[in-house]
Subunit: 344 residues, 2 copies
């Protein structure tokens, strides 16, 4: 019999820190670049078009001695049945023996690793002394973005929240932010950060806010651009997070024109990411993409050249992020004896 | 939180019956044929060629309200570490909501569903009043084949066991067969069968044994034919089970020449099944395959035409068999309150 550790959302909330999540995701990007970790072909099935689908994303990370997969399903009508629309489940295996070692809820991990991704893009692409952050979207992912940016940047003085559909939602988000955020940030093992020196406010005038934003994180499911090219000031960095299936987009394709573009996965970015539309419309060519984030981290490609450059990180999400953070969670859970144990 | 039932091998041995497994596999074949169940593309990864690999086989069965996947890994060097070379894990989801509902050990289920497959092929293709069964191979799968054939056929008088590599292994298999087999057969809910009226013997002269065998089940990992065409008597039915990756074969490609050929999955059969080699060598063309087993079961294609015909069922194994039997196990486990429960 083989011991399998089951980690649900409650367990993961207890053990995961944003600081370690960022390190794990950065390491995953690096391993992908160095061909030490591999993304396997994705399986996608639509139960009913526009109503229900699921995908299986798998990867192999021999350096971590893990391989595994994440299954994510989306059922539009679930909320009417008092169920979440999304279910995410990760299964983790030992890549030295093949044995299953952990079953994890994937939703909280997806939230954390996606927050980490946005801030890592900014860490490597934003200008020095970036001080102001604009978040487009006020859902759950806005929370993780803020936690990750505050962990990465020491200097954030202002965070602006803009909700493209509902200004009240942005207000409510700001009101309810401090307690859960401070609780997550307090877990960081070495980077002791808090909201104390940062002013968070909901905004409604996007053009005006962009004039004073050094960093922009887009975390909406939009399918038409929210940010116009003419509003963008010199030196802005964009981490585009929302676009992960064909047709989604959050910023004007024209912003890509003279930008320095880094993506998490080339193939995914041009087929399902924010980069899809600028390429389809001929604003840029594939060759205009500088490279993948792993290549930037390892110094194989250059990032920002001047303080005035516009930089874009297109994060579509890759299985290796999930596996790396799941592995991190399993390691901490094992050490701290957290989670349910079953024998398979 | 979502309730997930974990079923390990001990649980599965308690609850699965061969009679119900056969019914579930037959139903899975039927649903595939009727486009009511779908096999998704397979993911395969080789950690090191000839040393370690893994595959992910997924499928969707809306009629059962299930979708899911089976992960099987093979690590050649595991036995030296006191670990099984193979690990199999199945994850089952609700296809109405996407929620994960069960994590199961996949090995025992693979054994049972593969035994069922062989006997189902014989049920629909063998001549009436088949009385004698030859099993090529004396490993674990030989056991499941016997259980399935005895459950399907009332008339088996003799079972012959031939091990192509080690006659002693065949002897030991026969000696140790009765107790576990009677125990499994006794679980059948309605088909009360036993070994009582059947004589089981190890054999060494394959040519002679084929002369008196109505049914042949091949369950070895052979890569060169064990059974020669000239030994085969009129009217024999073959269920070829062993070949599931390119290069494996157990019977002379010439046997396919005038045979009636049924497969579990057309594409798999000609790429990785027993049918691969006869097609590659030009003994038969793809058009010479009558069709899939689901088409035979539903009456869309004909099977045996005369008592003298040679019939072949090429069973490569499909994910729907695993999902259908996993679903059966979950149903019984829920009813009988068996298994470990975790909250995800």
């Amino acid at each position: 019999m083989n011991k399998v550790t089951v980690l649900n959302e409650n367990d993961l909330r207890k053990i995961l820190t944003m600081e370690e999540t960022i390190a794990a995701v950065e390491e995953a990007y690096k391993q992908k670049e160095l061909n030490k970790a591999f993304v396997l072909p994705m399986i996608f099935h639509e139960f009913e078009a526009g109503v229900a689908d699921m995908d299986i994303k798998a990867g192999v990370m021999p350096e971590l001695e893990r391989y595994g997969l994440k299954v994510v399903s989306w059922f539009k009508d679930n909320p009417a049945k008092n169920l979440p629309a999304l279910f995410g489940t990760t299964l983790l295996f030992d890549s030295k023996t093949g044995a299953p070692c952990s079953l994890l809820d994937a939703e909280y991990i997806t939230g954390m690793r996606t927050g980490a991704a946005g801030a890592i893009g900014a860490k490597y692409l934003a200008k020095k002394m970036a001080k102001t952050l604009l978040i487009i979207g006020s859902g759950q992912q806005a929370f993780f973005q803020i936690a990750a940016y505050l962990t990465v940047f020491d200097s954030i003085s202002d965070i602006f929240i803009f909700d493209p559909l509902d200004a009240n939602k942005a207000n409510a988000f700001v009101t309810n932010l401090a307690t859960p955020l401070e609780s997550l940030l307090a877990k960081n093992p070495t980077k002791k950060v808090s909201l104390k020196n940062t002013n968070v406010s909901a905004v409604t005038d996007l053009a005006q806010t962009l004039e004073k934003s050094d960093l922009v994180a887009t975390v909406t499911p939009a399918t038409t651009p929210i940010i116009k090219a003419k509003w963008v000031k010199k030196g802005t960095h964009f981490s585009c997070i929302g676009a992960d299936i064909s047709g989604k987009e959050e910023i004007d394709p024209q912003i890509f024109k003279d930008a320095i573009i880094i993506v998490d996965d080339l193939q995914q970015a041009i087929t399902v990411g924010e980069t899809e539309r600028p390429i389809k419309e001929g604003v840029i060519k594939k060759a205009d993409i500088s490279g993948e984030i792993g290549a930037l981290i390892t110094g194989k490609v250059a990032g920002r050249t001047t303080d005035d450059a516009i930089t874009i990180f297109d994060s579509t999400g890759i299985a290796l992020q999930d596996l790396a953070v799941s592995n991190l969670a399993l390691k901490i859970a094992t050490k701290e004896n957290i989670g349910q144990t079953v024998f398979l």
